[in-house]
Structure formats: C-alpha cells, structure tokens
C-alpha cells in the first residue's frame, strides 16, 4: 500500500491515490517555480481525474494548486485595472469558465500540463474581456452607467441573448436594405462601430470617398427610420 507521501511511478499513476498524486504535484510545482527540472505527469493526472472523471476532490485540489497562478494572470491582465470587481471574483470566474469549457470529451485536445495551463490563462482573459465588452456596450451619449450587476461581468447566457437579439434585428435590416453597399455600410457602421473614413479606406471599390459613405449612410438611416418593423424592434 502506498504510504503517506510515497511517490507514484509513471506506470501506476492512473491507480495512485489522489493524496499521493497531490503530494507529487505540489513538489513538482515547487521545483518548477524554483526553475529546477520537473515532471508534469502527476499534475496532469490530477487534472485528468478532475475533468474526465469529474472527481470533485481532484477538482478542489486543482483549484487550490493553481489559484496563485490564476491570481497572477488576473493581476497582469490589461483589463483588470478597468474591472470593477476584486481579483478573487475573477479568479473564481476563471475556474468556473475552465470547468464549463473543458468537458471530458475535449480532454484529448490537451496533450500536457502546459497546454491545460495555457487554456486556464485563456479563461482568465476571456472572463475579463467579456466584462470589458459589456461595460463598453453602454452608449456614452446616454450617460448611463452600467448597473452593478452588469459591471460584475455578464453571464454567458446574457451574452448569448444579446447576440441573438442582434442577429434577429440584423435579419430584419437585411430585408429592408436590398442594396449590398447599403448593407455593408450598415454592418460596418452599426455592428462594428467603424467611422466613415475607415469604411472608405477598407472598401474603396464601393466607396471611393468618405462622402460616398456619408451618402449611403444617410440613405440607410432614412430607410430604417421609416420602417415600422425596425421601429418596433427598437422600441
């Protein structure tokens, strides 16, 4: 029987008790932080159990073990300074995102521990960027601050609902704008918030000058303002 602190060999790691793997993983992480050579396999096995077997104990170890790394990521992200929640909130959101995104059937996409930790870092990035997008979505001209619940970061569901509503509106707009140049100008101006000069620069074949963009945009706005369906949608 493996005793307290006994090391699991590479061959029997899949059968090793979690506490043994956890000890090995802690030591491997300490060696890594010191810059010493290390073996990732105990940590990778703990991750595998947490993700593929949905082992709650293994997951709790993963969160405890990599919390400092995620905290460092959050602190160093450029969007963190603009976020309205404290770092612990973003650390928790990062692990939530990782747990929901890395399903057992996806685990084979990650060949080693560095790949998993890179994905964990991506999760830190994406939860912060989601919140930043949500904050920036509040139109400046209304002078309305985002309500506190939004400033904490939108849920995945809220983001999906917002995009769905936008998709529906866009389908209606496409029916009102049969001209391709008008559709493109509407998409670039309203969906991507592109300035007319940028629109002209990117599509000189359609809009040789910025004045052409102004002309097309005027037609678009006039047509959409007169459309009862658009007005109903925006009410």
């Amino acid at each position: 029987m493996l005793g307290l602190g006994a090391r699991a060999s590479g061959m029997d790691q899949a059968r090793a008790p979690l506490n043994v793997l956890a000890t090995d993983c802690r030591e491997a992480t300490a060696r890594f932080l010191r810059g010493d050579p290390t073996d990732d396999t105990p940590c990778f096995e703990v991750m595998r159990r947490a993700i593929c077997e949905r082992d709650q104990e293994a997951w709790e170890f993963v969160v405890a073990q990599y919390r400092p790394i995620v905290l460092a990521c959050v602190r160093q992200h450029p969007a963190f300074g603009m976020a309205r929640e404290e770092e612990a909130y973003w650390v928790n959101r990062t692990f939530e995102r990782f747990w929901s995104a890395v399903k057992p059937e996806r685990f084979s996409q990650f060949q080693n521990l560095p790949a998993l930790l890179k994905y964990l870092k991506l999760c830190a990035h994406s939860v912060l960027l989601d919140a930043l997008r949500s904050q920036r979505a509040n139109p400046a001209e209304t002078g309305v601050k985002a309500p506190e619940s939004d400033s904490a970061g939108p849920t995945v569901e809220a983001l999906a609902v917002g995009r769905l509503a936008g998709h529906e509106l866009w389908e209606v707009i496409k029916q009102e704008l049969p001209d391709e140049s008008e559709r493109l100008a509407a998409y670039l101006s309203f969906a991507l918030e592109m300035k007319p000069a940028e629109v002209a620069r990117r599509h000189p074949d359609r809009y040789p000058t910025v004045a052409d963009v102004y002309r097309v945009k005027r037609n678009v706005i006039e047509r959409l303002r007169r459309s009862p369906r658009i007005q109903e949608f925006l009410r």
Partner: protein
Amino acid sequence: MSCSGPGAIAPEDLVAFAEGEADQAIAAHVARCPQCAAEARQYVQAQGRLRGALRRFDCPSPHTIGEYELGLLADAERVRVAQHLLECPLCTDELRTLRQFLATDTTPQPSPLDRLRRVVATLWEPPRQAAYAGLRGAEDAAARVYRAGSTTLTISPTPSGRRGQVALVGLIWDEGESTGAPTPGEAQLIAPTGATRSVPIDELGNFSFDEVAPGVYRLEVQRADQMIVIEDLPVGG
C-alpha cells in the same frame, strides 16, 4: 419647417456632422438652422439606437477568439472566425491583446518555502560492526538513521510522560559543515490526518517532539536552503 438656407449643405453633410466630422461651414449652418439641427439630432439618435442594438452582434466571443488562437476550433468555425477577423478591427484588437497576454510570463514568484531544495532522505542501515559511537541513539535499537546526501538525520523514540505515546528526539548534522554544527532551522511532523506540529532546531542540530501518538508520519526538516523529507516515519506500535 424647412431649411433656413436651402442648398447651403448637402443632405449627407448632416451625417458627417452627426459623426463629428463636419467642416466649419457645415457646423455653422447647423448651428443657425433649426431644421438641419433637428435632422442631425435624429441621425445621432437613430445611429445610437441601432449601434446599441447591433453592437458586435456578429463578433465571436473573446473565448472563441482565444480558442481560435490556440487551434482548438473545428474547421468550419475556424474559417468563420478567420474571415471575421479580416473585417473587424475590434476583434483584431482583442486578438492582439490576447497574444500579448499569453506571451507574458505570469508565473508567480516562488514562496520562501517553494525556494527550498527538497530532498527525500532514505533510511540508512549501518553495517553491524561499524563503530559509530557518538551517534546519538546508536545503542538504541529503535533509533532510525536517515541519509540525504551529506546530511545525516537520526530519530530516536524515548518514553513520554503520557501513556501510549512517545517523544521523538532528533539530531541533524551535515558532514560538509566545518564545525559539524548545522544552522538553526525548523522541523515539522505531519500526521496522517494532515495535522502538523512544528518545533525549532537548535544550533547544534537538536530537536524534539513530545507526546507523539503511534502512527506513520511525514517529517520535514528545514535548514538553510534545504528541506529534508522523511516520507514514512513509523512511531510506536
């Protein structure tokens, strides 16, 4: 109500004004023409509402852009995101931010404990006829001697005041030390339950744990830049 100066500006000039890009002549006309000012306000409002409803509706989420960057998307989705990135400066900007972030070394600084070099000690079975007089506990059959490189660690159980328990007396020294006396440190005894006890190591290398219940423990002895670990230390029984 009609324009105060028909022909002074073109209809699309009001769009330029709404964008904040009109020249002085247009701005001056709008300032004195109520009809044109009202129309410009309507363009601003309409554009604001359309932007509010459509803003980035077609943009992939930051997470999807991240999976695109890591090569984790299915082919069809990868192509869709790649095509979108050609057109969307907002998503391109986010991708740039992600790349810089992923390239940044966010490894946390090791804690003082992490910086210690961990060495697992092995039980040493001395030859029977070896004269190791002076080795504390050598004459005691229950004493255990461990080696970790040039460091020797002896653990000797002694009777404790409490029935059923023992006291552990330890001595650590390094052959590399010129005086044979190691620097002070700390010893930790970790029970199978995870309960931990810590005692100081004096400048002569002595330490002791009182009233230790029988069991198999983990002993960690920290001295200078090294932590020596005895993984399965049997006590009593």
